[in-house]
Assembly symmetry: C2
Homo-oligomer: 168 residues x 2
């Protein structure tokens, strides 16, 4: 089954992280592939690095991307991420494959939509989870489960900044 | 800050679980209190039981509750859960307190809405997360962050049953 967690609200990546620990708790093998995230001190990565049963791969740089003017490296990293996802899907090694922020990588045209759709067409017994705002209608149509995380209220709008341990 | 994860879509409890591992990865102390869940083989609990930095408490029975006709034990368990939440909020021991399914416990009148609001008024430095469908308007009004997990599409509607490692 292919899950999509999208929308403008908080809870997309964390929902995928929750599925990861649920799977690991049941003895499943997990692969986490993150787009546009690298070398940053995410609490969840610090934690999961020490957990057995999961392989983690990050593709991106430690710089913020300008969606209107990405660097060449951003395209290269996205392409490498795509190849790693394809490899993971074809490997038969995993029960759960989480592809974090791929929807945003596609929205920002770091990766063509066709490649995301191609990944969704790979036959696999793994549960596949794709996260990120801006999931395209084609992706939603192709998925088995779609949750839109809808922001009803967010403290960011009250001027609160992202906080270690809560947002990362 | 008080977060609410509500709505009819998949991802509410898992988003809270993701926040838990993010917090633990950053060295924070976590308390997970679950309403209406007990003794069931949840993958996430099997996993988190072996993690240091988290205390887990479950209140409920291993029987399904009939929302129109709960048993006396269901009310008693909900009341015990409420007391444990109050204790955790007042203890100063935790940086993150997750109160799983409390919105449903209130919707099903196992716990009065006034008690949920009272819990929200306890002064604490902890990040507080409340999950479950049917968060009431009063709860949404009082919260700092609310995400509605909106079901756009779910494989349950195609006849797929809950699966170990994915739904529990």
């Amino acid at each position: 089954m292919i899950h999509i967690y999208t929308g403008n609200g908080k809870g997309k990546t964390t929902a995928a992280l929750g599925l990861i620990i649920r799977a690991i708790g049941n003895g499943k093998r997990v692969c986490l592939i993150q787009f546009m995230k690298k070398n940053f001190e995410y609490g969840e990565i610090k934690f999961l690095e020490n957990v057995s049963g999961i392989d983690i791969f990050q593709f991106g740089t430690d710089q913020l991307i300008d969606p209107n003017n990405p660097d060449e490296i951003d395209f290269k990293e996205a392409e490498s991420g795509y190849k790693k996802v394809r490899e993971a899907l074809n490997s038969g090694k995993y029960d759960l494959i989480v592809i974090d922020e791929i929807n945003v990588a596609v929205k920002w045209k770091l990766l063509p939509l066709e490649k995301q759709l191609e990944l969704m067409d790979i036959k696999t017994d793994a549960e596949v989870v794709m996260t990120g705002r801006y999931a395209s209608p084609e992706i939603i149509k192709r998925a088995d489960l779609v949750t839109e995380m809808l922001e009803i209220k967010h403290y960011f709008n009250e001027g609160v900044q992202a906080r270690k341990g809560v947002e990362f």
